[in-house]
Symmetry: C2
Subunit: 147 residues, 2 copies
DNA sequence: ACCGTTATTCTGAGTCGCTCACAATAAGAC
DNA sequence: GTCTTATTGTGAGCGACTCAGAATAACGGT
């Protein structure tokens, strides 16, 4: 447990669902000389130890969070990219009973809900045709992962 | 509807869950001069039209399949990387009722079941400690996406 | 059939996110 | 306080994909 690891862990703890690149900037507040590669290594190590969980949505760098051991899921706003944690819907192991597993023994199910978050929905109501480009262009006050 | 697009479509149809790179080689049986970039463009176009569906598991290039309109899911063997289609378990829209959506209106749920397929399970039974490295190293007789 | 317009494909370079090999450094054990 | 091992830092490199722009091919009208 080095100071770099603790710094990365607290950075992720404070900024859930952050990509590695953001973690670097957060950690550099404390350790200005830490390198990008070290952060990648530390993130991978902590993920192996299951102190962190890595979440890889499409078209996005991998995001890290500290809720690692419980098997929760994620809701992803397709407009602004916001991500929220979602607990299992149906009991403990929700989607763990697929209809036909082709002989596979299932370990876990990763669920990604795609939807539109409240703020994006209200800002789209005024617009005649919603402009998905605005989402990627300007993450205004709250960045993609800062909420 | 050009011959390139038809060739790509049939290639994906014949080789479900194939990455773009493999599609290139398949298509080149018919159109030896097609370029990698064209295949990428065609795959993106066909995905937009919803003639294809793009599936992006972690640590793997994007895979394409022709079952595009139905919202089915995938089971992924964590040892050999084999992928099987899985229909919805609980009714029509299985995991579409998360416990707390944080104000998001959910459009769809993508589910990835992680497990171990039958052949990997039987080959691991002999081994004292299962060696996950072998998985990435040698996809033995059946390649990662050829099954 | 010919021509023009638009969509599709090709060429070649470039980007992003991440990984690798290896040297330098720091942390814990004796 | 040294020694050994784990952790960081350095710098290059890779895979998968994207982009800008030129060349080509597919329709639609005459």
């Amino acid at each position: 447990m080095t100071k770099q690891r603790i710094a990365v862990l607290t950075a992720v703890h404070r900024h859930q669902h952050s990509p590695a690149e953001n973690i670097v900037t957060y950690v550099r507040d404390e350790l200005p000389n830490i390198t990008v590669q070290s952060v990648y290594v530390v993130l991978a190590d902590l993920t192996d130890i299951e102190l962190l969980r890595k979440f890889q949505p499409p078209n996005t760098p991998a995001l890290y969070e500290t809720r690692a051991s419980d098997n929760h899921h994620h809701a992803l706003c397709v407009v602004c990219g916001r991500i929220e944690d979602v607990d299992c819907a149906i009991g403990e192991a929700p989607c763990l009973t697929p209809s036909e597993t082709h002989g596979m023994s299932i370990i876990a199910a990763d669920v990604v809900y795609r939807g539109i978050c409240q703020s994006c929905r209200s800002s789209e109501e005024g617009t005649g045709s919603p402009d998905p480009h605005a989402a990627h262009a300007a993450p205004t006050s709250s960045g993609l992962t800062a909420h």
